[in-house]
Amino acid sequence: MIEEFIRDALRWTDVSIFAYFVALNSSYLVLIVLAGLEFYRHLRRIPFAGADDMFRSPLTLPVSVIVPAYNEGPGIVAAVQAMTALRYPRYEVVVVDDGSSDDTFEQLRARFDLVEVPRVVPADVAYTSEVLSVHVARANPETLTVVRKTNGGKADALNVGINLARHPLICMVDADSVLDPDALLSVAKPFGDDPLRVAACGGVVRIANGCKVIGGRVVDVRMPKQWLVRIQVVEYLRAFLMGRTGWSRLGGLVVISGAFGVFRRDLVVRVGGMDEDTIGEDAELVVRLHHHLRETKEDYRVIFVAEPVSWSEAPSSLAVLGRQRRRWHRGIAEILSKHRRMILNPRYGRIGLVALPYYVVFELLAPFIELSALVLLPLGLWVDAVNLEFAWRFVLVAYGYGLLVSLAALFIEEVSFHRYPRWGDLARGMTAAILENFGYRQILAVWQVKGAFGAWHGRKAVWGTMDRTGFGTPDEPESDLVGAGSVPRVP
């Protein structure tokens, strides 16, 4: 009797898990189709988008680019050089050295001839560390500011940067990011087109590993050499480029990457700046903006632009990737827990009724379901709850659908932006879409579950270090190596 009950329970659980996989992949497919429509719309409008007019206008809203840096010594000079050479009419770069123990500051001082200046730091948003000194570039004192502070974590560094930012728009960029020359223009443009409503705008982040970078510019896009990173390229295309564009079209974007996003400074100040207690401070800020603007019943938009892009180095070792994904999932768990009042609350519109519930069901819980499938399916086989015929079909359909979703993302990329021009890279991308189902997704699920448990059990968040290998093509030593160093840590 009990055995029969267990068999029935396992059978139905396995069927439910299967239904979950179908629903999950279908939702991805819907987002990819929406992204495809959005790209079509975007590409048709390029001839009259008016980027040049915006560049020439004396009234274009100026931007403060805030770059938090922690132990970025080997790559910081190239990164800042690239950022100070962006195509934008009026902007400043504020580098916040978050107590680096390496030569990050010395590198900057030597290259940009920094001079120390007294500066009154307003307390528009709270920060916990101590500002040690403020420096400006001798040749360009109003364009480049470098702040030295005691280590307080990325969110704290960003808060100091927000306080020092002089312009109405703030752009948060990781110190290891390489921006396309027109990236700032594109991401700030929605603020000029719809100044009363646009509250924040995210830019797409692509993987720079393997690309040829010269003078702080990605000049030749290539697939990385390691399969671990190639799989991440496909993953970024599917989840970040397509997923976020789809959510933007639905009016439910809740994540703007800290690696590249522009915000209205007054709104960021109004909601209190970055949350230092959340490890996913970038997404948390966006959710908090939604929270605040919905409560105050303001008409606003949070949007995502798919081109041009910010290039970032992805982890090339399992250890670093594991730390990153634990951190990301912990961030999701913390944010959903902190803003749980919004979930399924009609007061928060489609954010409360669609986006956040989706994140609970298909982002937060997905690794749990995936791992439970890995355990329960063999268990069902063992106790004869399901037969082998069912099991192999189950696995094939679940992962086959996942493969289809990845290929659909590659198809849309090929139709729209086709950033990888080589036939070999195309083949590698398609192969990576197959390979990610064999081990990658499963180990990812383990890390994500650990990250979620870390958030729920209140364990101390650790950023850890990331040993960057740089973006340069190994056989071309003249290429700049941008992005060596470590990611900031939360104390």
Binding site: R44, R45, P47, F48, G50, D52, D53, S57, P58, L59, T60, L61, V115, V117, P118, R119, V120, P122, V136, R138, A139, P141, E142, G192, D193, D194, P195, E389, F390, R393, F394, L396, V397, G400, Y401, L403, L404, L407, A408, L410, F411, E414, V415, H418, W423, L426, M430
Partner: protein, 351 residues
């Protein structure tokens, strides 16, 4: 159930294979198309460059005679070239476009059902700087799609016909107006002849309209409007409009603006207005403003004190002397340090 799974596997396999084939097919098609376009455009592009090199004096007949498919392939390049040219070469290339019927086609497309076609046509007419298109472009200012209205405004700015000023101003007075900064920039592009219209619009009941006109007047250097702008700075009911008035007075830079701006610094005024007024006094750069700005260095509002200190820095020796006299003040120290860096760089500011 098993049959359903089997069917799903078969369907999935077919779709996966189709998608993979589609990726390859798309790439093959794009490469083929790209090569064909490049081949077609090569000749016209050479002719275009030769035409421009000759300052538009020779070769226009050759350009007009280019077959339609080849011209279509080279047209984006030709339009991009238009934006970079001035004088005779620009006029010559515009004349080629006109003789090829581009303007006529674009004018027809302004009434297309497709908003993308309307917007593209407006863009082309703006690139051609075609004055005859102004009435039609003005009509697009009431288009039901915001993106079309935005392109029409930009096109009107490029054409620069001051007759469009009042229509642009009117398009701001609607529930879904064109962006203010774009409107201001366009009004500036219309030139000094638009000043009278802009000045008259300062009495418009809509605060947004007044703010846009103030921005434009400031950038145009409309010194004849200083008295009217000073009145708005003093009397307007909207803070944003008064801030815009202070900014405009700063840009105009006349001495007659010092008194109204000084009055706007009074402690009873909102901090945003006082900060804007302090900044404007720095823009004017008159030593007469030093006493009022110096008094603001200890102001409780950060941005007021900050702007006052930097305004004193920009005023020059008299302002720097006032800052030096307030050695213990953080904002003064900050402004002095920046002045020092700038002086070292330019070696222009006297010690």
């Amino acid at each position: 159930m098993l049959e359903l799974f089997t069917l799903a596997i078969e369907v999935l396999t077919a779709v996966v294979v189709l998608t993979a084939t589609g990726i390859v097919a798309v790439r093959l098609y794009r490469r083929f198309k790209h090569r064909k376009q490049a081949r077609l455009a090569a000749g016209p592009r050479r002719s275009l460059l030769a035409f421009v090199a000759d300052n538009g004096e020779e070769g226009s007949h050759d350009l007009v005679a280019i077959p339609e498919d080849a011209w279509r392939a080279a047209e984006p390049h030709a339009l991009a070239l238009l934006g970079k040219l001035r004088g005779e070469a620009h006029m010559g290339l515009v004349s080629v476009f006109l003789r090829r019927g581009t303007a006529r086609t674009a004018l027809g497309h302004l009434r297309s059902r497709s908003r993308v076609k309307r917007a593209r046509a407006a863009q082309v007419l703006g690139d051609l700087e075609l004055r005859q298109a102004v009435p039609e472009l003005c009509r697009l200012l009431t288009d039901r799609h915001a993106e079309v209205r935005v392109v029409a405004v930009r096109a009107l700015g490029r054409i620069g016909d001051p007759a469009a000023a009042w229509r642009i101003i009117a398009s701001l007075d609607r529930s879904d107006p064109i962006p203010s900064l774009l409107a201001s920039h366009t009004l500036v592009q219309l030139g000094a002849e638009a000043e009278v219209t802009l000045s008259a619009a300062l009495d418009h009941p809509q605060a947004r309209v007044r703010a846009v006109c103030l921005d434009a007047l400031g950038l145009l250097g409309a010194t004849a409007s200083v008295t009217r702008i000073a009145r708005i700075l003093k009397e307007d009911a909207h803070l944003d409009v008064r801030v815009a008035a202070a900014n405009a007075l700063g840009k105009l830079g006349t001495r007659s603006a010092i008194d109204p701006l000084s009055l706007a610094l009074h402690i009873s005024r909102p901090a945003a207005l006082r900060a804007a007024a302090a900044k404007a006094l720095g823009d004017i750069g008159s030593p007469n403003a030093v006493p009022v700005l110096e008094a603001l260095l200890d102001d409780g509002a950060f941005h007021v004190a900050h702007e006052a200190a930097h305004a004193l820095r920009r005023i020059g020796p008299a302002g720097l002397a006032a800052l030096t006299g307030r050695g213990g003040n953080g904002h003064a120290l900050e402004a002095l340090a920046l002045a020092r860096v700038l002086r070292e760089e330019k070696t222009a500011v006297p010690a």
